[in-house]
């Protein structure tokens, strides 16, 4: 018996369009997987009733011209979904039900998809292992007791375990690419402004971008096509025509110049990462790309700059969770100030509090110039590095992460080591440029490893094409045994 959920999104769309399978059958198949996959804890909220109703409606009245006809999709629980609980992985929004739909999810539904459920994530997307979620750890389907990465850990886990045919996450400093790398899936962070931020619970507004997380590069192109586009409700949205990424997807990369930044060769990086990088270079070179050594001299300052800018914005973005208007309110306290203190002390987890404290500190008078302003200057220098590099190259190839997935609890009490996970992903958020992770190999423990492709601003098509090639030539197979179903 063939299991429909073994297929890629593109394949399922194809089968539905050919009327070989019905939306309701697809939906039921995923619901069955989700029921069997509870151990992974990748879902916070299931919306099966909505999904089944919508799938039946689709089957009754199908529109095959859409990009995602009758496709059930679960999304990271950072996207506000009309009438469906949206928690951002936090106690403070434990029972929050928005009366509005984020632009990005709305774009998915306009293309024929519907909501299957809301996926676990680090609290307010702050974390690299999904261990900061109020709703508990998520397990990496690749191996028990292993983190799926973060903050879009629930998304990566559900995707790799076939609990959703594709998904979307958000990426502020690597939150799509790192979990994609840890689970052997594809994840893309678009150019800042390509996808609307309207209706996404904000972490760090100048860095946040929504993006697709998929099993294949073709799926990634399809999903990006569906979610991207100008939104007048987001002042930072780019006003331009929608691209047909999936139609334009091709493996012809002849003559493309690929930069290899020497600064990404960090101390203590495992051999297998180095080997993976070499493998990537070889694949691209064989297909006619030109490999060029480049320098991004300010890379080493990216992480410290990021851990100033992101918490600064977060400290302000999270001020609205004060117990006054919606969400959790502590019953303790005899005046307004005490209500604030208790609500926020009880409602936020440790990592969120840590970042609010850091952010408040770096914006304080007397420290602003030394931290926030300096970090913004560093950010500009990092951007300049990329601008300069892109005068010589069309894309940049690096590893996605400095290591493979680690054990649950391994880094939980060591924030610095946790933050170092983002070392290769953070610079592109600071520069606002697109980057994606594509699975390309495994480490000695058989855990997946990803390669990162960084593109010019709005150069999504180029990196998708490069990724398509790496995907085809790297002979990476996910091979997940569904051990959790036993």
């Amino acid at each position: 018996m063939t299991d429909i959920t073994n297929n890629s999104l593109t394949k399922i769309v194809d089968l539905i369009k050919k009327k070989e399978i019905k939306s309701e059958e697809v939906t039921n198949a995923y619901i069955s997987n989700i029921e069997k996959g509870k151990k992974l804890n990748s879902y916070i909220t299931e919306s099966f009733e909505i999904a089944l109703k919508k799938s039946k409606n689709f089957d009754k009245n199908p529109n095959y011209d859409l990009l995602l006809p009758g496709i059930p999709l679960a999304v990271k629980d950072l996207f506000c979904t009309n009438g469906v609980k949206t928690t951002a992985g936090s106690k403070i929004l434990e029972n929050f039900v928005p009366k509005y739909e984020s632009t990005v999810t709305n774009n998915l539904w306009s293309e024929g998809a519907f909501l299957l459920g809301k996926l676990n994530c680090d609290e307010f997307a702050m974390g690299s292992s999904n261990e900061t979620s109020f709703f508990g750890n998520v397990i990496n389907p690749v191996k028990d007791n292993t983190v799926p990465g973060g903050s879009s850990g629930g998304s990566a886990s559900a995707l790799a375990a076939e609990l959703t045919p594709a998904t979307i996450g958000t990426d502020t400093g690597g939150s799509i690419r790192q979990p994609a790398s840890f689970t052997g899936t594809v994840g893309l962070k678009p150019t800042y402004g390509l996808c609307s931020r309207w209706g996404i619970v904000a972490f760090a507004s100048s860095l946040d971008q929504a993006g697709p997380m998929t099993q294949t590069v073709s799926d990634c192109a399809l999903m990006l096509e569906a979610i991207s586009g100008f939104d007048p409700k987001d002042s930072t949205s780019i006003d331009r025509k929608k691209e047909n990424y999936s139609k334009k997807l091709n493996k012809n990369i002849k003559g493309l110049k690929i930069g290899i930044p020497k600064e990404y060769r960090v101390d203590g990086m495992p051999n297998e990462i180095e080997e993976l990088w070499e493998k990537g270079k070889k694949i691209l070179k064989e297909e006619g790309a030109e490999i060029i050594d480049i320098s991004l001299p300010h890379t080493e300052y990216a992480l410290p700059a990021y851990y100033i800018v992101a918490p600064a914005e977060a400290s302000s973005n999270l001020a609205r969770y004060d117990g006054v208007k919606y969400g959790f309110r502590s019953s303790k306290g005899s005046n307004l100030i005490e209500m604030y203190e208790n609500t926020r002390s009880e409602g936020f987890g440790d990592e969120v509090k840590r970042r609010i404290l850091i952010g408040t500190y770096v914006l304080s008078s007397g420290y602003y110039d030394a931290y926030y302003l300096k970090a913004q200057k560093v950010r500009q220098l990092i951007k300049n590095d990329f601008d300069k590099a892109f005068l010589k190259v069309d894309a940049i190839l690096t590893p996605s992460t400095p290591s493979s997935a680690f054990k649950i609890g391994e880094k939980k009490n060591d924030p610095i080591s946790m933050y170092l996970n983002d070392i290769f992903t953070v610079p592109t958020n600071l520069a606002g440029i697109p980057a994606m992770s594509v699975p390309a190999g495994r480490d000695k423990n058989d855990l997946p490893l990803g390669l990162q492709l960084i593109g010019k601003p709005l150069g999504e098509q180029t990196i998708l094409n490069l990724a398509l090639l790496i995907e085809a030539k790297s002979s990476f197979k996910r091979n997940i045994s569904k051990w959790w179903e036993k």
Partner: protein, 488 residues
Amino acid sequence: MSEDKTKYLIEGTKNKWEVVIGLEVHAQVSSKSKLFSGSSTTFGAEPNTQVSLVDSAFPGMLPVINEYCVEQAIKTGLGINAQINSYSVFDRKNYFYADLPQGYQISQFKNPIVGEGEITLDLKNGTKKIGIERLHLEQDAGKSIHDLDPSSTFVDLNRSGIALMEIVSKPDLRSPDEVNAYVKKLRSIMRYLGTCDGNMQEGSLRADVNVSVRKEGDKKLGTRCEIKNVNSIKFMQMAIEHEAKRQVELLESGESIVQETRLFDTKKNETRSMRSKEDAHDYRYFPDPDLLPLNLDKHLIEKIKKDLPELPDQKKERFVKEYFLSTYEANVLVSEKEVAAFFEEVIKTAEKKLATNWIIGDLFASLNEKNISISESPIKAKEMASLINSISSGLISGRAAKEVFEVMKETGSDPVKIIEEKGLKQKSDPKELEALIDKVLEENKDKVSQYKSGKDKLFGFFVGQAMKVSGGTANPQIVNDILKKKLK
């Protein structure tokens, strides 16, 4: 002009003290929708009925700038002769309060939309220029209501997100009178421009008042105190007087002023400490990452400049030049856009000098008496002109005109009708008047012979008698002429 006599000084026991005042005026931008959302701004709606998801800061909501509010700020900037900054930035001012849903106010800190400018005040002893430091756009907060329930505070977010212009003056003001003139002038300019309705009762115009004192002749500024959120000119003046005296008393008794924020208690007529500099909020300003910097197109600024209406100062100049009014008259007539329009409407048909006197005199007195504005006046420009024309054509006498006006100010009726109904029409027919005068002379033969023998002063007596007999309706000019002839 000897300035010293009019100088406002506080007499201490040891010294005379000069008061230095700077104002931060918060003017609500006249706009149908809020600064960053589409919600309505209508005053007086049911609580929390004009609140969008953005105004109430729901998760994932983003601000989008209201271009009309930007244009209003530019217009105001041009109206106060200020530099318009083609690059400005919205910052977040972070603090917690129940009626501040975002946990921050979107304002402009380092790069305001409008830079330095100036306003000319018309004072009793001449004009004075007051420097403007800056004008920036910001969001208003909601309203906390503490007196509806003994144990809870209610929050109304209708005001949350409404656009305000904060207009900061330089410390150029020196007396409560100057503050009065400054606020009125600023208000007048904004009302001319249509950028703020200036309605202080509805809170459309409020101010933070910075006050310091220094010994007369000192150049160095004293330590200032900021009196927060004063919402009438009278209260501003009272607060300044009280605060200046308090500071003088402290300084003369050898104490120093602590820089702090104070509140004016309108009932007790005193200012109270709210928080000292040490307790001042650290607002952690930083550029709002949800909004791009505001880059203004030069053409837009030019276009707004071109379409600017005539402003009070220009109108005043024109009134003096075109209508030969005194500076004082012109100032009074241009202070309100509606008054100036009323005046110009009246003088389309009526004589200027007479119109000026009647509007500034009787009409203003009647409006003040009823405490209404000119737009609410029962007497419209057409009727006012008609009354004035009745005087200058000789239809009625000045005295009769006062009587007609008394009716008009209650009913607003057509003066010609009132004149007819009351029989106030002036007798100007020489034959009729001649008969009347003959009768007067006949009855006062003795006085006539006294006059003829040199008692010139009696002329007035005959005029008076003629008027009396006519019941006040005789045209005094014609009576004069006839009498002169007859008594030759």
